[in-house]
Symmetry: C2
Subunit: 474 residues, 2 copies
């Protein structure tokens, strides 16, 4: 296995060593489905989608579990504001999340558990922690159960903090806690909260704490030890720190590698709904092609922040157009030489693989992509079909790994316009024939009128050996 990644726990790039040869198990924390996903949320989906594609390409059998947190304080608050049941609120945004990640070409996870669907597993884990002396029932009669951070000597190891220097945990009334940093595993039902948002437990009716959910779900679907745990960098503390502590305290080795992607920022601040600076995925894809948005999110390294910028999205759109023009040129000029049915398996450039193996280095990988594309175009200009065809295959293979191959099934929806393409082809051919006839009869004004018409429509027509090709100008 030549893949290396930056392990957030060890704070260095380490060789990736799967628990079971030939397999990899990945858990990444999905959204708390309280509002519509913005670019900051979806960056995580895109990053882990490329990780999964790269490991699959590298020959591993990949299992991905990404949860949906469908109960928490914010969901209860926001659904009450909206006047809908909390579960209907959560379900609505779960669907919006699906729409957003599908729109950006992310493959669905192997499984997507909902937190509220795993109460028995969470109760079992909590009972184990109490039994082992790492959790306790709050002394204030609230029905809360807390993790006892002082009981776990390595608490703070993931985020590199010492307990004494940490801030108090945000959840709940501190009166029942032994230490303000103790965090809730189980939250006793409060008067005024919906009864449907509480479940019976040995400690009274209540609902799970956020951190507990992911430990229980990761453990159920990936086992007590698994390969990679991921999420946005904002989850490293306290969420992942707490997951790690409670899982290890329960006797589970838990994740072998931790991987965190950086934020999307707007004016330097983390993009977030509450700051009102969130660019909703559903809005962005109205302005820019979805594949361009994906390319934009993959252009920087996943551990670098991305400052939201229309300029960069416009650049990504132009880069995407270069890619698609190159692909179409290949289809038009190479024909059977690039027919997947007759050509051998695509050759991924070594430099691309090296970049991806080096902590999912998409910036280096994209540089290889665009260099190959440039060389391919040069070869095409020079009539060197063999080199052009080889570059074309390589570009398609790289696009496949990056999830940007326009012919892949995940982009099928983007092709609903395909029915009209042959119509446009036919009309353009007919018009060009009219223009040719006008030229033949030296009717320059008619020929010019046709040219002007095409320009006014926004159609750019290029003559090629195989006939005219058209593209839409923006």
């Amino acid at each position: 296995m030549s893949f290396r990644l930056y392990d957030s726990a060890r704070r260095q790039i380490v060789p990736f060593e799967p628990l079971r040869a030939g397999e990899v198990s990945i858990y990444h924390c999905g959204l708390t489905v309280q509002s519509a996903p913005h670019l900051g949320h979806i960056r995580k989906e895109v990053v882990f989608d490329v990780l999964r594609r790269w490991l699959t390409y590298s020959g591993l059998s990949v299992t991905v579990v990404a949860n949906v947190t469908d109960i928490d304080d914010k969901i209860l608050e926001k659904s009450a504001e909206a006047g809908v049941p909390w579960y209907a609120h959560a379900y609505r945004f779960e669907r919006e999340l699906h729409t957003a990640y599908s729109a950006l070409g992310c493959l669905p996870p192997t499984y997507e558990p909902r937190a509220t669907g795993h109460i028995p597993e969470m109760l079992e884990l909590t009972a184990v922690l109490i039994e082992r002396g790492h959790a306790y029932v709050a002394a204030d009669g609230s029905g809360d159960v807390y993790f006892d951070v002082r009981s776990w000597p390595t608490y703070g190891e993931l985020s590199g903090q010492r307990v004494d220097e940490m801030e108090a945990a945000a959840d709940a009334d501190p009166r029942g806690k032994r230490d303000p940093r103790d965090f809730a595993l189980w939250k006793g039902h409060k008067p005024g909260e919906p009864v449907t948002a509480s479940w019976p437990s040995p400690w009274g009716r209540g609902r799970p704490g956020w951190h507990l959910e992911c430990s229980a779900m990761a453990g159920k679907y990936l086992g007590t030890e698994f390969d990679i745990h991921g999420g946005g960098i904002d989850l490293k503390f306290p969420h992942h720190e707490n997951e790690l502590a409670q899982s290890r305290a329960a006797g589970h080795p838990f994740a072998r590698h931790w991987m965190h992607n950086a934020w999307v920022t707007a004016a330097g601040e983390k993009m977030s709904k509450s700051l009102g600076n969130g660019a909703l995925v559903s809005e962005v894809v109205k302005t820019y092609p979805a594949r361009a948005v994906r390319l934009y999110l993959l252009a920087p390294h996943y551990r670098s922040a991305i400052e939201f910028s229309d300029t960069s999205l416009t650049e990504a759109t132009a880069q995407l157009a270069r890619i698609d023009t190159f692909l179409e040129r290949g289809t038009a000029e190479l024909g059977p030489m690039i027919d997947p049915a007759t050509t051998s398996a695509p050759a991924l450039p070594d430099a691309f693989a090296d970049a991806m193996d080096d902590d999912l280095g998409t910036p280096g990988a994209m540089a290889v992509l665009f260099d190959t594309l440039k060389d391919g175009n040069k070869a095409a200009d020079a009539g060197d079909e063999a080199t052009f065809a080889s570059a074309h295959r390589a570009v398609l293979a790289m696009l496949g790994v990056l999830g940007l191959d326009p012919a892949a099934p995940e982009w099928a929806d983007a092709h609903a316009a395909d029915d009209l393409r042959p119509v446009v082809d036919g009309l353009v051919t007919a018009l060009l024939e009219q223009r040719q006839q006008a030229r033949t009869r030296k009717d320059w004004s008619a020929a010019d009128a046709i040219r002007d018409h095409l320009a006014a429509i926004g159609l750019k027509v290029t003559d090629t050996p195989t006939g005219p090709r058209w593209s839409l100008e923006n």
Copy 2:
């Protein structure tokens, strides 16, 4: 409330009397997500989608809960055959179900609970039934818990059967049962079944019985009494009979009305995966426009079987084309007279409302739709714009109720081709201009060549006062 429906429990058409004025709560049994949905599955979604739309239009606030059964014997079998975990198998087909019902313009339910997410609720219900003497732990040590049908005097009331005449329940080994008709509420874990498919219970690890799931989920989200319980007619017995018995035996009044839709048949047999006669939704919508498939499923009354037929689907496609041509003609000829921003609320014909109020009589409602359309076209031919506009508004309102309005958000995906439509408009205009100039200069062969070109492309062009309009011929 003027809505009447056939109540499968009372076996007659009854006035619909909502439990709470102005509200209606509907539960319908979703798929066991073991394979890709076919037309037979999706008919239920379309029927209950129209029910929901009609009650919403009638001024009620509608809550719809439709579950997903994500664990059962078949899911365990089929996932094992496919070599994937049962939950990944279920999740894959849950997503295919979403794709299928969205493709046919069905609005998502208010909530879509998964069976495995409601183990605590099922355990509570089972405990109540044991306590009340209506359920017992199997005597054979299997860990199964059965409902005691002899303990419930009205067992059989929904399907109109006497217990002594019923067949034995299909589930599990009969050795632990008091009566062969007793059905499983809880199934003890069997060696060889995945541990992840079992949960702790007071009776040992196990998994829920199918019937229990729906009683628990309906009760949680809609309360112990709710308005309408629906599903395919094949669910009436044993599934709904058993739901009813166990819910009432637990002290819940349960559903006030029962509504069952008939099958889609193929060569007279119920369409089903196992018979190999299932027309997959994903395939059918490749051949026929999705809205035509929806129209086809709504043309017969929901309690009549639909024999699968390409002829009928082709007819539905032609009917849809008539509708769309009518709508486009209105847009082209009426302009601001039908602008939603300036016209008053659409008037739904009384005859349409009467048909819908009479047990969701879509055949009668569609007859009104096509009569109105015909009258509208006649008025348009006669230059009677006021009548045309009024018919146009009425048709749009009826299409909205039936979920067939092409401008509604649920059909937005079908409009991905819209970007190319103005291009085709521009090209057609340019070509017709060339044809006109050819005629002016008496160049008949050029004019004919353009006409032939348009025909070869499959474009039908009609001259209208506001310019040429084109449509694609199939």
